[in-house]
């Protein structure tokens, strides 16, 4: 189809027009490839599932999954679950941002803190955050705060370490210039150190978000009464595999949307403004 388009419009001598055309061609190609890829995937899935090789409760076709997504959206189960999950996620995420940036600030400014807290952060970062859940359940009980705690532990060290890295990579000249112009204490932190390390911090925030998302779903699967992770386990208990897959699709879509619409843009905007963007 794209080849047809290119032939229909002969190349004009005007370069701008040609460029526009080639850009359209490029985009057209990308879209065509993507559509073809998912088309083949879904049609193949449907055909394989309906071939009768496996019972439908083991391997459901694609259409009932789509139907489950639609029904649960309409009957309000998905919106309620998404809202409940989001609430936990946002509370945990922003708490972790605050604590993590404070921790990172201390680690970035004091060498002793970096050698002590920095090594501890590195170690704890290696621990999958769901491993905190048993401890959280004993400390906080069967409560929302247990899940929030798991999310915080998932995000905290990533944000702290990227903040510290950002602070450590501030060119010493900038710090000297600021001191020279009279920056001290608070103003040093808020007018120099934090803005100067924001490109690194934003990268940490983006990474932290994906850690938070994983931690959330994992924690909700083990314990909760409402939320996406809970719906996933409900589907398993009801032997409703279409439902399980529907929840999985929603988890992917929500996670992807946050990453692309919020964090990718935020990171890009900061990097452009700071002049460190790859063009």
């Amino acid at each position: 189809m794209t080849a047809l388009l290119a032939e229909k419009k002969p190349a004009t001598p005007l370069e701008r027009q040609r460029k526009k055309l080639s850009r359209w061609n490029k985009w057209g190609k990308v879209v065509a490839v993507i559509v073809a890829f998912y088309g083949i995937w879904l049609v193949g899935w449907e055909a394989l599932a309906r071939s009768g090789l496996w019972p439908s409760y083991v391997f459901p076709p694609f259409t009932p999954v789509l139907q489950a997504i639609w029904e649960n959206m309409v009957n309000g189960k998905f919106p309620v679950a998404i809202l409940a999950s989001m609430k936990r996620l946002l509370i945990g995420y922003f708490a972790a941002l605050g604590i993590g940036m404070g921790l990172g600030l201390i680690m970035g400014r004091f060498q002793t803190a970096q050698t002590t807290l920095g090594s501890a952060s590195l170690g704890l970062q290696a621990l999958p955050s769901i491993a905190w859940l048993p401890l959280a359940l004993i400390w906080f009980g069967l409560d929302e705060s247990a899940i929030v705690f798991v999310i915080i532990m998932g995000v905290l060290f990533s944000v702290a370490m990227s903040t510290s890295t950002g602070i450590r990579s501030i060119p010493p000249q900038l710090e000297r210039a600021a001191r020279n112009m009279g920056a001290r204490g608070d103003s040093m932190v808020f007018d120099l150190v934090l803005p100067a390390s924001l490109p690194h911090i934003v990268t940490g925030m983006k990474q932290g978000w994906s850690f938070a998302w994983r931690a959330l779903i994992a924690a909700e699967m083990v314990y909760s009464t409402v939320g996406l992770g809970h719906m996933l386990m409900m589907g398993r208990e009801l032997n409703d595999l279409a439902m399980v897959l529907a929840v999985m699709v929603v988890i992917v879509l929500v996670g992807l949307a946050a990453d692309q619409l919020v964090f990718e843009r935020l990171e890009r905007a900061v990097h452009v403004r700071w002049g460190v963007a790859r063009r």
Binding site: Q173, R176, R179, N180, D191, L192, P195, W274, G275, V276
Partner: protein, 328 residues
């Protein structure tokens, strides 16, 4: 002059501890700068000129010797003596006008005051149209003008300039030389200007101090008495620069052959031996020429004596001296 000099350094020494051992950056550096004077310090790259400014700005402390600003020790860094850095050291997250207003913000001016003062200063350097731009959108020359505005908006009585125009192309540099002299004529602040470019030093300085390679000592001092504004292609500037070049080359040999004594960077001294012998003649003729144009030539004692005492070292053809230098 009866009044207190703006800046006095007496026998200042600075030694850095590095992984490879101690590096002596400054040795017995003494200088005096009067209020409202432009003094240029010229020396080879990496000789410790920046260290000198860091000490005056208060980022570091001397190991021995004394620094006095208006008769008092410098203390913590502050906006009374602003440094303008070679790379500008502007803040990429702020707009041009906010960069210029940074020091004012630290000093507690209100937002309106800051904006008005910063805009006025930007106008002086001809960048008012770029007030809202980001730093990375400007050329290197424009950035240095922003850096200049950022320093001058604080109305410092002492301006420390650390090779601020070294990375610029010739035309931009010339226009900044003119601009700097113009702004100085208005505000009459004291300027200590560090450079490795003798022409630049001769163009800008009321006086020029010449430093040796590390460990840096003062090897010569020359007064440049040509009228302002000066341009880099003025005859007087060229003549003065030629004299300075001679001083600089002689300075290369200050530590030569000092052998056990000089532990600093020695590699440069060896290479410059022959060049300086060629230049001895040039320098002599240059000095006569310069005197004719009203150049007052005054050589500082310390370094000169050292050379005299080890007169052999001044002879670049001395093979023993050179081999000693080449293989540390």
């Amino acid at each position: 002059m009866a009044e207190t000099p703006k800046l006095v350094m007496r026998k200042v020494c600075k030694i850095y501890a590095t992984e490879g051992g101690e590096v002596e950056a400054l040795r017995d550096v003494s200088l005096e700068v009067a209020e409202g004077e432009i003094v240029c310090i010229v020396g080879p790259s990496g000789c410790g000129k920046s260290t000198l400014l860091n000490l005056i700005a208060g980022f570091e402390e001397p190991d021995s010797g004394e620094i006095l600003i208006d008769g008092k020790p410098p203390g913590k860094p502050g906006p009374d003596r602003l440094i303008m850095f070679q790379e500008g050291a502007l803040f990429p997250w702020l707009t041009v006008v906010d960069n210029v207003a940074f020091g004012l913000k630290m000093a507690g001016y209100t937002k309106e005051e800051r904006r008005a003062l910063a805009m006025a200063e930007l106008e002086k350097v001809g960048l008012e149209k770029f007030a809202k731009n980001r730093i990375h959108e400007l050329s290197v020359g424009m950035r240095q003008r922003v850096a200049l505005a950022r320093a001058l908006v604080m109305q410092p009585r002492l301006l420390l300039m650390d090779e601020p125009f070294a990375a610029l192309d010739a035309q931009t540099r010339d226009s900044l030389h003119a601009q700097l002299q113009e702004l100085w004529a208005e505000q009459k602040m004291t300027i200590l200007f560090v450079t490795h470019n003798v022409r630049e030093a001769a163009c800008l300085g009321d006086r020029v101090l010449v430093m040796s390679p590390r460990p840096a000592t003062m090897v010569a001092e020359r007064r440049v008495d040509a009228p302002r504004p000066r341009y880099i292609e003025d005859d007087a500037v060229i003549a003065a620069a030629r004299l300075l070049l001679g001083d600089l080359k002689k300075g290369m040999e200050v530590h030569q052959g000092a052998g056990e004594e000089a532990t600093g960077s020695r590699e440069e001294g060896g290479h410059h031996g022959p060049a300086s012998s060629r230049n001895d003649g040039k320098e002599r003729s240059g000095r006569e020429e310069g005197a004719g144009r009203g150049m007052e030539v005054r050589e500082e004692g310390g370094a000169g004596k050292k050379n005299d005492a080890q007169g052999r070292m001044l002879d670049p053809t001395d093979p023993t001296g050179r081999t000693k230098e080449a293989s540390p």
